[in-house]
């Protein structure tokens, strides 16, 4: 295992950081939560952030915290699907396709919610789950899994996730299209 400083990784995959932070900002605006500060990208730790008003509403908090995870994942699949065939299957030398594949993987790599996002959710989820909140019930195992994956970042779990989604997503889409 080789060590590359986090800011270097973030710089190499900066579009993913920007999309992630934009996701937070989008859901804050959607649920009318006050935003105090936004940084889409910087050379530091964290590479980006959105400081916003807290809320007792679990659904709002869930979307603000988890929204980027789903948005980044979906965008990763879309960009990689657009570039998957020329890069992996057809072996066509198309620089634009390689650029979009890098973009897709970069976005996918920054899908994981930060430990801060997860701890905010974890603070509410078990109690809401006890009261029968379906979203909270479903969130508990997902938060647990994302905690583990976050820890796995030191083993490149985030890159693994980006590549996995960027390969398996398009393969699943094209296999489904071939059957259609």
């Amino acid at each position: 295992m080789f060590f590359i400083p986090g800011p270097v990784i973030a710089a190499l995959t900066f579009p993913g950081v920007i999309i992630h932070e934009f996701g937070h900002l989008f859901f804050c605006k959607l649920f009318k939560l006050k935003v105090y500060d936004v940084c889409f990208f910087r050379f530091g730790n964290p590479a980006g952030y959105v400081v916003h008003e807290t809320t007792d509403n679990f659904t709002r908090l869930w979307f603000v915290s988890m929204g980027p995870f789903f948005a980044n994942t979906i965008l990763c699949v879309l960009f990689c699907t657009a570039a998957f065939l020329p890069v992996w299957v057809l072996k066509v030398e198309d620089l634009l396709a390689y650029f979009f594949y890098w973009l897709g993987i970069s976005i996918g790599m920054h899908a994981f919610p930060s430990p801060g996002d997860l701890s905010n959710l974890w603070a509410m989820a078990p109690e809401r789950a006890k009261h029968g909140n379906l979203l909270a019930i479903l969130s508990v195992p997902l938060i647990g899994l994302l905690y583990i994956l976050n820890f796995g970042r030191i083993f490149w779990a985030d890159l693994g996730y980006g590549i996995g989604v960027g390969i398996l997503g398009p393969v699943a889409i094209f296999r489904a299209l071939a059957r259609a």
Partner: protein
């Protein structure tokens, strides 16, 4: 911004989506053993991506398993001059098929040379049958083998077999060439039996062959064999082309 990039990515990828879908459809059809249907899909993919190992090997396999050596040759040699980075199982499958097809066509070429020499029709037919058995997907080899059987039957004076094969070929591939062979076989039957029915039928087929021979090359060929068939019908003497040439055409040439 992201949306614009996504639109550009999808727009750039659109030309590959069709090729990719064709590849997956072709792959599925190959897995199901439907090689004939798979081939057009895979050819379409190879047109966009001639360097794709997967597409080229699948297209080559489908082409070889449908007897289309010409297409297999085109796609396989269009890929880095026939070189593949990773000779995996797919490559080895195609390699075995390609080798088999090449050995079959080498035998077919040998058979063709023998047949052209004259007097070796039985050996030529045997070799052509071996070629057809080695590569059964190439239906043209099986057809050629049957045509060579005609020559072998003529050589051993088995005119019933000669006529039966000639008629079968004429039914399968109606045209001036096959009609001419039927006329020749009927002329042989007339020569040995004296039955006027055979003569009448032979003349009918000969007329049909003449009408069908429109191209200069066809006309030239027709004139050559029609002369020999007419001689056979007039004299009831059966001689092969080398003998006929020796007896009549060499004299003509020397008289000129």
């Amino acid at each position: 911004m992201v949306l614009i990039l996504l639109v550009v990515a999808l727009y750039n990828g659109r030309k590959y989506f069709h090729a990719g879908r064709s590849l997956y459809v072709g792959e599925r059809l190959v897995d199901e053993g439907r090689y004939q249907q798979a081939l057009p899909y895979l050819e379409e993919t190879v047109r966009v991506a001639p360097e794709s190992d997967k597409a080229v090997l699948l297209a080559g396999r489908a082409a070889l398993l449908t007897g289309r050596v010409d297409i297999a040759d085109q796609v396989l040699h269009g890929h880095s001059g026939g070189k593949f980075e990773d000779p995996d199982e797919a490559f080895r499958t195609v390699e075995v098929l390609w080798d088999k097809a090449n050995r079959a066509f080498a035998k077919a070429e040998e058979a063709s040379k023998l047949e052209q020499q004259g007097g070796h029709d039985a050996d030529a037919a045997r070799l052509m049958h071996e070629a057809a058995a080695l590569y059964p997907q190439a239906t043209n080899l099986a057809i050629a083998a049957e045509m060579y059987d005609e020559g072998a039957a003529f050589e051993r004076k088995d005119y019933d077999t000669f006529l039966s094969i000639a008629q079968r070929q004429w039914k399968l591939f109606p045209g001036p060439e096959t009609a001419g062979v039927v006329a020749s076989a009927l002329a042989c039957k007339f020569a040995v039996t004296g039955d006027e029915q055979y003569k009448k039928q032979s003349e009918e087929r000969l007329l049909e062959a003449e009408r069908g021979s429109q191209q200069p090359e066809q006309k030239k060929r027709f004139e050559e064999y029609a002369e020999r068939i007419r001689y056979r019908l007039a004299s009831r003497v059966i001689i092969d082309k080398p003998e006929y040439d020796k007896k009549f055409r060499s004299q003509k040439t020397s008289a000129e």
